[in-house]
Symmetry: C2
Subunit: 307 residues, 2 copies
């Protein structure tokens, strides 16, 4: 089943307690594509890149079945560039540089060849652009998943709220869920946010795992305790890619299957953080993914016929 | 199977975003006893109280099968008193007052009638006192579980390390695990701490659940996402009481059964935080506990035959 993913393709400069890279490929759509392409062979990318984006990266993505008809290339501008430095706890970071470059002109167009997609992943972008993509779909996808961030809550809340009325699943972190709902309790926050539109809400808590809310149900997916988190960049997008990739592969959008999809997304994210950028995602095999998912099963399994 | 629990019985004054109490019964041994007495009818308490400790509270504990032969009563001194105020996030708090009172003279004595106990719960106390209790046992208990805190790491690290060589299970929070091991990664911290003595390590992460480490195994128990955390005081001790209570009831100290015990402890702690002090623990029934454990099962269950 085919999947459209919309987001950035970019360069990142990253500093973590473990090292530093000056320029590595990044961007939300890049991570989503690397993760999702393990599950779906028809990932349809919508993004924008400058003259400096490496052709080898595009070829690597194409070899994984990623379509790039929807990736606009601007000949005289540079790709989006982000630079950040992580604190010791790896849960917080400072943004050092944000050079929009081509992103300033991004006007995502859904190619005709993408119109059959039943799954749509809206990476973190200006809400107006997310809305534009939804409105271009001639047939509403079976499932629309949306990522966003606190920045848009600060400067484009009305637009964001409009997009929320049109999506099925929202992905945010705990701080963002609190900001959007004005509730400290994540249970209360989830109720308020689901009233804004999404039927499903995933709250990502980094090293503390993720929560999936739907109606009165809640599911808690742990994060795998790792010896070392080398670079958290892209972990959220990789999670999203594994999540929607599994759903698109199985074509099952039930709450039960979303729980499984969250475990798949968590497994993918746990690989992502092992090396800088998307490097680790390029190396892993289907067997690696199965092994990691097995570790998640192990991590939370217990017997209960007891009290 | 009988269980000795050593710790404080005290008064607390507590302020949370939801309200304030000037004087409510507290103390680690109190919470452990209320939790464990749901599972074991022979909880043998070792503590010290002043003239002001309410007789009704002792009667309530006795009615639950808690033995108080080991609770020393000092006629001319007040009970230990702690006062604290929680921040909005409920994960952090400021200590306002610590009046040691009787606790300054605490010299725990293990009564002869306690010597048959196979399970020993050492609540958070000066390490020298924990050590004294262990040394008084004529037959080493089948399982010794120990709680501690950063304060003892600051001022009595050598004593603490000596106790660590004599216990089976250590309970600490994530910050304490990091301080004790000097490692940021909890996986690395766990390895170092288990080299100090305990074969099992439980790292409590409050609203983010708990991790159980043993050899190369790890288990992740979630915390139940709650609409409201009314008062976190005693949640860690209640967790410990449910944990060791379940182990003492089942007499099974395998890793597999400890995983179950952690879920039981988490269920007890989730009730504890619903009201001030141990109030909620006094109200709940066996059916309530089973219901809550069922919610934990639901919270983490997923199917996995998929990738």
């Amino acid at each position: 089943m085919s999947l459209i993913t919309v987001g950035t393709m970019a360069f990142d400069a990253i500093e973590t307690p473990f090292g530093k890279v000056d320029k590595i490929v990044g961007g939300s759509a890049t991570y989503v594509a690397y993760a999702a392409s393990n599950f779906v062979k028809d990932v349809k990318q919508i993004s924008i890149i400058g003259y400096d984006f490496p052709i080898e990266e595009l070829n690597e993505l194409k070899s994984r079945g990623v379509k790039i008809d929807g990736v606009e290339m601007i000949k005289d501008k540079k790709s989006f560039f982000w630079s950040g430095k992580y604190h010791t706890d790896m849960n917080t970071r400072d943004t050092l540089i944000t050079d929009l470059n081509v992103l300033a002109d991004f006007n995502p167009i859904v190619p005709d060849t993408y119109q059959d997609a039943e799954f749509l992943m809206l990476g973190n972008l200006m809400p107006k652009l997310q809305l534009s993509v939804i409105n271009q779909m001639k047939v509403r996808p079976k499932l629309i998943v949306m990522d966003t961030m606190n920045f848009w809550m600060d400067i484009a809340l009305d637009d964001l709220k409009e997009v929320l009325t049109k999506v099925d699943v929202l992905l945010v972190n705990d701080g963002e869920a609190r900001q959007l709902s004005n509730e400290f309790s994540l249970v209360k926050a989830a109720k308020k946010i689901m009233e804004m539109g999404p039927k499903f809400l995933i709250i990502k808590k980094g090293e503390h795992g993720a929560l999936l809310f739907h109606e009165n149900h809640v599911f808690y997916a742990p994060a795998l305790p790792l010896e070392e988190v080398f670079d958290p960049t892209g972990a959220g997008d990789t999670f999203a890619g594994g999540f929607i990739g599994h759903l698109a592969k199985t074509k099952d959008i039930s709450f039960e299957n979303m729980k499984t999809a969250i475990i798949v997304g968590s497994a993918m994210a746990s690989y992502c953080v092992e090396k800088f950028g998307p490097e680790r995602l390029k190396e892993i095999t289907k067997e690696d993914i199965e092994t990691r998912i097995g570790e998640f099963v192990e991590l939370v399994s217990f017997d209960i016929d007891l009290v």
